[in-house]
């Protein structure tokens, strides 16, 4: 005998900045804010990933809570009173943006400039940046030990870009440690576990085992980590090279939607084309089944489409 499921859709009602909002049970405060048309800044949050609420740029005040709460992760509750624009909220958001802006290269992170302005963040006030770490130095940092310096320069995560394969590069000078790539590679999607967070504190970093180059790691080049990286730390090598040469120009690019022809799954592809060449491949994050994920063939196996005889 089959049981007919009875679905009763429960909702909760809360107050955000003085206005009442009703959302489905299980929705987050962020969902509720968005439903109400008040988007909040987010960095580590991704629609397709389990929230780990690490960046804290989305914090809000909830009545009765001693500390601020991350709107991206905290579930909305009946009767909650939320404030998104108080002095305390603005202060923490400003400081988070300054902390990141003064320690991480955010030049390829979208949206950040606007938030910096909105919250009057001044990352420069922590002093000039300290010189970048030599290659591999951050990879070897021992937990519980650090070199303090004299405080006259601001410590950063600057270090050389890791270019160890033809598909994509890892520029950890741009890494805000949002854990998204780790989740994408691991439990949330790919189940490959090629990368994890290593080290501790300011020396925490995304790493393969013993910082092995990607070709020696478990990486299968699905590029699903690139798809979720919010700062451009993970990037197609083609994009990286063009940016280095100064030829990257998004205004000159077209995006063609198509279906991957390698297998029967039929993942949606978005081919980004500049000067008649594919420069990167993405997949729509809102796609009901694949949620932006691809395998190595769809992501990087595009060379054959542009093997033009005249280029041989």
């Amino acid at each position: 005998m089959s049981v007919v499921p009875v679905t009763i859709s429960h909702t909760v009602e809360l107050e955000i900045d003085g206005e009442n909002v009703r959302v489905r049970e299980g929705a987050t405060i962020l969902d509720a804010c968005r439903a109400q048309g008040r988007d909040q800044p987010t960095l580590c949050y991704g629609d397709t990933l389990t929230p780990i609420n690490a960046c804290r740029v989305c914090v809000v005040e909830v009545e009765g809570s001693r500390v601020l709460v991350p709107s991206c992760a905290r579930k909305a509750e009946d009767g909650m009173v939320v404030r998104t624009d108080t002095e305390r909220v603005r202060h923490s958001r400003k400081m988070v943006l300054e902390f990141l802006g003064s320690s991480v290269d955010l030049t390829t992170a979208p949206n950040v400039d606007g938030w910096m302005e909105e919250y009057e963040a001044k990352p420069e006030r922590y002093g000039p940046p300290a010189p970048p770490a030599p290659e591999g130095a951050r990879d070897r940092a021992q937990a519980g030990h650090h070199h303090a310096g004299d405080g006259q320069t601001a410590a950063t995560v600057a270090q050389p870009v890791k270019v160890d394969n033809e598909s994509y590069i890892r520029d950890y000078a741009k890494c805000i440690l949002c854990y998204k790539c780790v989740e994408g590679c691991g439990t949330d999607w790919q189940n490959t576990f090629a990368i994890a967070v290593a080290g501790r504190g300011f020396d925490a970093r995304i790493s393969t085992e013993y910082a092995a180059p990607l070709p020696d790691s478990a990486c299968v080049y699905c590029g699903n980590c690139i798809a979720v990286c919010p700062t451009g730390a993970l990037m197609f090598k083609s994009e990286h090279d063009m940016r280095e040469d100064g030829t990257w120009d998004e205004s000159e690019q077209t995006v063609t939607e198509t279906i991957c022809s390698y297998c029967g799954v039929g993942c949606s592809l978005e081919l980004h084309v500049q000067d008649n060449s594919i420069v990167k491949v993405t997949s729509p994050l809102d796609h009901g089944i694949t949620r932006g994920n691809l395998c190595v063939k769809g992501r990087f196996g595009y060379q054959y489409v542009q093997n033009r005889p005249d280029e041989e």
Partner: protein
Amino acid sequence: MDLRLTNQEPTEAERAAVDSVLGPPDSAWVGGERGDDGHAAHGGHAARAQRHLLLPVLHALQGRAGWISQAGLGYACRRLTVPPAEAYGVASFYALFALEPRAPVVAHVCTDIACMCSGSVELVAELERTIGPSGERPSNGSAIWLESPCLGLCEQAPAVLVTRAGETPGEHSISKATAVDVSAALAGTSEQRTETLAPQTEGGGDGLRLLHRVGTIDPGSLDSYRGAGGYEALRTAFDIGPAGVIREVTDSKLLGRGGAAFPTGRKWDAVGRNPSMPHYIVCNADESEPGTFKDRVVIESDPFALIEALTIAGFATAAEHGYVYLRGEYPLAWSRLEHAIEQCRSRGLLGDDVMGRGFRFDIELRKGAGAYICGEETALFNSIEGYRGEPRSKPPFPVDKGLFGKPTVVNNVESLLNVLGILHDGGAEFARIGTEQSTGTRLFCLAGCVQRPGLYEAPFGVTLREVLDMAGGVRDGNDLKAVLLGGAAGGFVGPDMLDLELSFEATRAAGTTLGSGVVLVFDQTVDLVPILLRIAAFFRDESCGQCVPCRVGTVRQQEALLRLAADRPRGSVADETALLAEIAQAMRDASICGLGQTAANAIDSAINSLRVFEPQGA
């Protein structure tokens, strides 16, 4: 999950180290079902369920070889079906593990705040002169010395922990260490040398509730413990039943002694009622708050008391499985507790039928590996489970989803110890001791510039002056400059606060905290600025790195203090202290856990109460 493993072969020693924890492999192939390409293991469930053995396995590798090699870790990963990148992430989280070849003998020399008041600065200078810089192997030596955060031996400063890797690995502590002692340690000729400093117990400990057995019983003998009234409380517990125990603990109004002051009875009740099974009970003995050593003294001197209390907690909350998470730097406490657990097992006080009352309970001991954050209760769960010691976000709370996702009671050693007296006298009687809201007695860790440093017990409500007097006052008749209450996460108070009543409510009202019971004394000869720099360095080192306010905030806080200390502020001194206040506010408001939320407290109090950076300041 597919595991991709390197083909590097572990050494025989590394293999033996891993097998010593996991047992010999069943077949020549050692991890799940073998994949087609020869080096992929497809996660066997049985293997993956052993992930909680990762930390013990890492200890075994480190202990055998002095560092954890890629081949050794790879073998462990194969046996446990853990992806190597994750295992590397876990190993590199802990300060006591090395991931590059390192000398087998290491002297960890405490440079933290209590030791700074008692000769560690001079000790380090002498080591640099006679042996060489920290971390550098002297020519033809097989040993190095490293700087360490507080080793929990603050009353016997300066402290050193020696770790020795090899076929028979071992650790020992050396108190009141000199450069000669460290040289001996590096030459392999030192041994355990510490004392028990609890001056109130010298006359026999009469009238003390928590320390009365310290020094009067043999910590290695169950009979000695029973002869001193041991296991009467568990008998009472069996007589009054789980609900009775929870009622007494609730009536006692016992508040947790680990820092957060949460009512113990409420916690036990919530877990006891939780329909999700199994339940766990975890004793938090990670004790890494600089200036704190109380749990060490208790475990070293009275280990059976902790086992009995934990058994009662298990009985009251329907937990069959208890864990003690002991910090890795406590070798004597470890061996005494391990021995005591063995004795209890062999005498039917742990196991399938405790005291013949049909109650099943056993205790597993877990060793930390150098991470203050693992004292935070949810980070502790992750650490036991074989993950990085990163705090989880709350809610859910441990009473709903704790260890292995199950309802869990976490209690500090001192909180648990109180339960014995509560069952002996009854909760209501217990509640008459101390103050209205802070019932019972408290252990105070007196160290720094006091005449008789050590562990003291006094009822809540005692004043700071009275506690200082118990320890003979300020050392050498010097003037008091400041007291740090509650450890690095606590706050400084000045000599004007000597009449402060030491209770949860009075310290809270005064804007400070009792924290873990630290009363660290500074006399007028101590310059507080280097102390503040050490506290800032501590928090930078110990932040897990998960959230931005703490990961970067602790660095920016340290940098601003360095500028102030060098008298090279950006802008004026007032600009810098204003910046520190802004950093403090964001860390307090937006950090995930208590570490970030309190990382600015001591510095903030030194600036605002003691006015350290003002011309006439301390």
